[in-house]
């Protein structure tokens, strides 16, 4: 598939979740055989899975993305061996399953009992207990317009 026009390599090709492995398979067949990265973004209503593949002979890249709402998406690890580790990390960080992954063990995290850390709904404990420095009220705004005396509402 051709690069989106005028994209400077950064435009994202959006595909349906069900067409994920087909799209990556097509790109692989076109020569984009090197996986740069595969990761996720929590878009609140869905998890966006983003991957960038590169053609090593031209160093051209394509960024593909899809939205996952059903909790799982096809694994591309059989086509792009590097995706093996990228998908394992994305799975534990966002709570997504990659169907057909040859080795779906956690990559970096120990206990699966804690919530996926990169979901926006997972509260960072240190953030929850510390006071936001921006909440300090620096009282410098006058509560009254210029020239109005303090007792303007009181009867004289």
């Amino acid at each position: 598939m051709p690069a989106p026009a005028g994209d400077r390599g950064r435009a994202v090709i959006a595909v349906d979740c069900s067409a994920w492995s087909t799209a990556l398979g097509d790109l692989h067949a076109e020569g984009f055989v090197y996986l740069d990265f595969l990761t996720g973004v929590d878009r609140i209503d869905s998890i966006e899975i983003v991957a960038r593949v590169v053609d090593p002979s031209t160093l051209e890249g394509r960024i593909v993305a899809t939205r996952v709402t059903g909790g799982s998406v096809a694994s591309i690890a059989s086509l792009f061996p590097a995706a093996g580790w990228h998908e394992r990390e994305t799975a534990e960080m966002f709570g997504i399953a990659f169907d057909g992954h040859p080795d779906p063990r956690p990559l970096l995290l120990h206990a699966q009992s804690s919530r996926p850390p990169l979901l926006k709904s997972t509260v960072l404990a240190a953030r929850a207990v510390s006071a936001w420095p921006g909440g300090v009220e620096i009282v410098r705004r006058s509560q009254r317009p210029a020239g109005v005396p303090d007792d303007w509402l009181k009867p004289r």
Binding site: R127, S130, W132, P133, G134, V136, I138, V139, R140, S142, A146, G147
Partner: protein, 105 residues
């Protein structure tokens, strides 16, 4: 391309608007100030100025994203190229007003 090392403060330019404190994603900046009234001869009313009492950046939390430098409307924060300020104690990585303004002396 500006050198991304330590972030320095120009106290004379700071108006205590708190934008850097609020926009910092690491919550690593704190700011203390008070206001003073200055009588201007011939003016209808006194002029109010903000006086900066304290400004700290915790370089143990800072991720050098530069949002504070970008957002300051008065260019009071500046990138410098210095990287050499190691400490044996994490609390010593909290740079106060004097230390932050000394970079530009």
């Amino acid at each position: 391309m500006t050198p991304h090392g330590v972030i320095a403060l120009i106290p004379a330019a700071c108006t205590s608007c708190m934008l850097c404190v609020r926009e910092c994603p690491s919550w690593c900046i704190t700011l203390d100030s008070h206001t003073e009234s200055i009588d201007e001869p011939g003016a209808r009313r006194p002029r109010t100025v903000s006086v900066l009492d304290g400004f700290t950046i915790d370089y143990g939390l800072c991720m050098y994203c530069g949002i504070c430098v970008d957002v300051c409307p008065f260019d009071a924060l500046e990138w410098l190229g210095q990287h050499d300020y190691p400490e044996a104690d994490r609390s010593a990585l909290v740079h106060d007003l004097d230390r932050l303004s000394a970079w530009l002396d």
